[in-house]
């Protein structure tokens, strides 16, 4: 199959047929990559919902050079040969991204100071770059009571942006889904309807895929800000998953176990609940060394210095 040529923000790249604009941009890397709040490459059918990755297609293809009439979701639009895309070079796309960010925030509690996700929150990152300085809404925010779904997972629906990722995790990597999106419109919520524990070997991955602080790890609750914790690559022999994880340490204390996330916040391999919740002693693990993480909002502060590339390394 011949490769398709696509230009994104004046940078040309060749990709295989069937590649989305988003993934073409990820091949280029850096600032031309649109933010993804709902798309998750490991989850089939994800994307298209949050609308933060909208870009302008200035030229549809070499064969049909007409521009696309509306902004398109880069995560769900396939590259055509000769396509010309504008992301950060399109004032229209930037304006809409600012608007989408505002939409995502008008019902958000803005409770970052007490949210465990702060520092590794994609909504926080998005609002740093695209948020308005002032809030233009005076309306009352939608509120829900935080609940436990299972003994290890906290659901704080107030922070949810309805990306559907956790629903897809339950559908695609667990045996049985007991939670979903209930209600509709601005009353939609992630719920089990009647109190039911989300209880299966892989449910903890819902925490890892959640882009915001809606689903957090009860065993890590209020223990530390993530930027005070040191992430270490580690592994163990596990019969259920690869056993490859990141340990979040404070001195010798193991605060939290997560999957290994790439620079787009996606885990490489989903891990089981046993590794995540039950192996909380340092000795349970073979530690490989400090984890290199991409400079990523405040999480990269404190213990890191900027290395020549974009990524930062932990100071030992």
């Amino acid at each position: 199959m011949p490769l398709l040529k696509v230009t994104i923000d004046n940078i040309e790249v060749e990709v295989e047929a069937g590649t989305t604009i988003m993934n073409a941009a990820r091949i280029i890397g850096g600032k031309v990559v649109p933010p993804a709040m709902c798309y998750y490459s490991k989850l089939e059918g994800s994307g298209g919902k949050c609308r933060t990755c909208l870009v302008k297609v200035a030229q549809g293809s070499a064969r049909d050079p007409r521009p696309m009439p509306k902004l398109v979701a880069s995560c769900r639009t396939l590259v055509q040969d000769g396509m010309v895309v504008q992301n950060i070079t399109s004032p229209e796309a930037m304006e809409s991204r600012q608007a989408i960010t505002e939409f995502l925030l008008i019902n958000h509690p803005l409770d970052c100071p007490v949210c465990d996700q702060a520092g590794e929150c994609h909504l926080q990152d998005l609002s740093y770059v695209h948020g308005l300085q002032e809030t233009r809404t005076v309306e009352e925010r939608r509120t829900f009571k935080p609940i436990d779904i299972g003994d290890k997972i906290k659901l704080n629906m107030n922070r949810c942006i309805l990306c559907y990722r956790c629903v897809m995790v339950a559908d695609q990597i667990t045996e049985k889904r007991v939670h979903g999106v209930l209600g509709r419109g601005d009353h939609s919520e992630i719920s089990t309807l009647i109190v039911k524990a989300v209880d299966n070997d892989f449910s903890g991955n819902m925490i890892d895929v959640c882009p915001v602080g809606a689903l957090t790890d009860n065993t890590f609750r209020f223990k530390s800000r993530v930027w005070f914790a040191k992430p270490m690559d580690a592994h163990r022999k596990c019969s259920k998953c690869s056993g490859k994880v990141v340990l979040w340490m404070k001195g010798d204390e193991l605060l939290r176990v997560t999957g290994r996330k790439d620079k787009y916040g996606e885990v490489g391999e989903f891990i089981c609940n046993d590794c995540r919740f039950e192996q909380k002693e340092k000795n349970d693990w073979i530690i490989e060394g400090p984890r290199t993480i991409e400079r990523h909002s405040v999480i990269s502060q404190n213990h890191y210095e900027i290395s020549p590339g974009e990524s930062v390394r932990m100071i030992k």
Binding site: R51, L71, R136, V181, G183, G185, D186
Partner: protein
């Protein structure tokens, strides 16, 4: 009264009965088609007739059919969109209630043209009593050999079923409708792929509106030339207009496209003028989603030409001074109407009907409703009016499906044409009506 195609026999007593419909020439189009025409010939007829989708989008029907993946090994489906829910639109209910066989005959023709052996009529759940009329008529069609195996001995087979919705305007969007027909939430799908390639159960599918399908028997029977001879410009044929609001004769009218708007509103043959001799203030010409126009711009275009009931003429001037034919839901408001309150009811509607899947629609529709509620109750500010315009601008075009546009256009157009009325609400700190 112009040419009557859809409503010609609507007043005949017992029309819903198979024998009555048959005596009036019913099902002869099916006989003609199945015995003398190939599926492609029918598609060609429909293409040349100029028939456009009557649900609101106005997409050429024949062209929509031609996108279907005929090479696919999978089953093909025709689905009738009977989810009539656009405020101001009540034409489809009329057809199913009084002339169900016309719709069934159209379904057979469309299915044959598309190579579909199973077809569904997706009807909004509130209209269960119409569903039962349809199901009875379908049974009659089976009994008389127009549905089922080997129709009229031609070897063509078709099963037709009704499927009820359960209260969701969004299921009028064709991919949400298909999701709903699959027993899921009515979340519109992300397109492409379009239903013609990946539709119901992943199979090639065409979704057409009731009125569109009901026009097929006449087109097949009389030929495309006869249909295309009616109307004006690219607006061919007749259109059902559901007229409501402050008029003397609300109801469903079949008009030849091209009828002057003024004649439609004031002639005794149609709306019969404004109630109580009141003054016309504004019209929403094509269902709640399309831009509202003040009296001056609905009767005449900005260039001073008489405004006609056609796709082109109603759109003349773009959204600055024009609107859309849409679904033909014609809502008339007299001078006693508060434009802000009317808009608030629309905003509430779209907030209520947003599926909640994408953020601009979920958050934008509810934000707009809240602001409008404040303005209507006298708690709005001048800044709120501009904020509404800004929100509408950013909902429009940024959503998965057209509901975002449908929610944004009424807000933007009401402020565009009646800004002083919003300002008055703010200044007086109450509704002046």
């Amino acid at each position: 009264m112009g040419k009557q195609i859809l409503l010609k026999n609507i007043d005949v007593p017992g029309l819903a009965d198979f024998q009555v419909y048959r005596k009036l020439g019913g099902y002869t189009a099916v006989e003609k088609a199945l015995k003398t025409l190939s599926p492609d010939q029918i598609t060609e007829e429909v293409k040349k007739s100029g028939l456009k989708g009557r649900g609101g989008a106005g997409f050429p029907t024949g062209m929509k059919w031609s996108f279907i993946d005929k090479q696919s090994e999978k089953a093909k489906y025709l689905v009738c969109n009977y989810d009539e829910s656009e405020p101001g639109t009540f034409k489809d209910r009329h057809i199913g209630k009084l002339n169900p066989h016309q719709l069934i005959e159209g379904m057979i023709l469309g299915s044959y043209a598309l190579g579909a052996n199973t077809a569904y009529i997706y009807i909004r759940g509130e209209l269960f009593y119409v569903l039962k009329i349809l199901e009875k008529a379908i049974q009659e069609a089976y009994k008389n050999g127009f549905l089922g195996e080997n129709i009229l001995g031609t070897g063509y087979s078709l099963d037709l079923y009704c499927h009820p919705g359960a209260g969701a305007y969004i299921c009028g969007e064709e991919t949400a409708l298909l999701e709903s027909l699959e027993g899921k939430r009515g979340n519109p799908r992300i397109k492409p792929p379009f239903p013609a390639i990946v539709g119901l159960y992943g199979s090639p599918t065409v979704v057409n509106n009731v009125e569109t399908i009901a026009a097929l028997p006449w087109i097949v029977k009389n030929g495309y030339e006869a249909y295309a001879a009616i109307g004006i410009g690219n607006s061919k044929g007749t259109k059902l207009i559901s007229a409501c609001g402050h008029i003397n004769k609300p109801g469903i009218y079949e008009i030849e496209l091209g009828l002057p708007v003024e004649e439609f509103i004031y002639s005794d043959e149609y709306c019969g003028g404004i109630r109580n001799g009141n003054k016309l203030k504004a019209v929403v010409a094509g269902g709640s989603s399309v831009p509202i126009l003040p009296a001056s711009l609905i009767l005449k275009t900005a260039a001073g030409e008489p405004r006609l009931m056609s796709y082109e003429s109603l759109a003349e001037g773009g959204f600055q001074t024009g609107t859309m034919l849409g679904s033909g839901g014609f809502i008339v408001m007299d001078h006693t109407t508060c434009i802000v309150k009317n808009l608030l009811t629309f905003a509430r509607f779209y907030r209520h009907e947003s599926c909640g899947q994408c953020s601009p629609c979920r958050e934008g529709t509810s934000w707009m409703e809240k602001i409008l509620t404040r303005i209507e109750n006298g708690q709005g500010t001048m800044k709120d009016i501009d904020l509404l315009v800004d929100i509408a601008k950013h909902v429009e075009g940024n959503t998965i499906c057209p509901l975002g546009d449908a929610a944004a256009w009424p807000v933007a157009s009401a402020i565009r044409h009646f800004r002083e009325e919003f300002e008055e609400h703010v200044k007086l700190q109450k509704c002046p009506f």
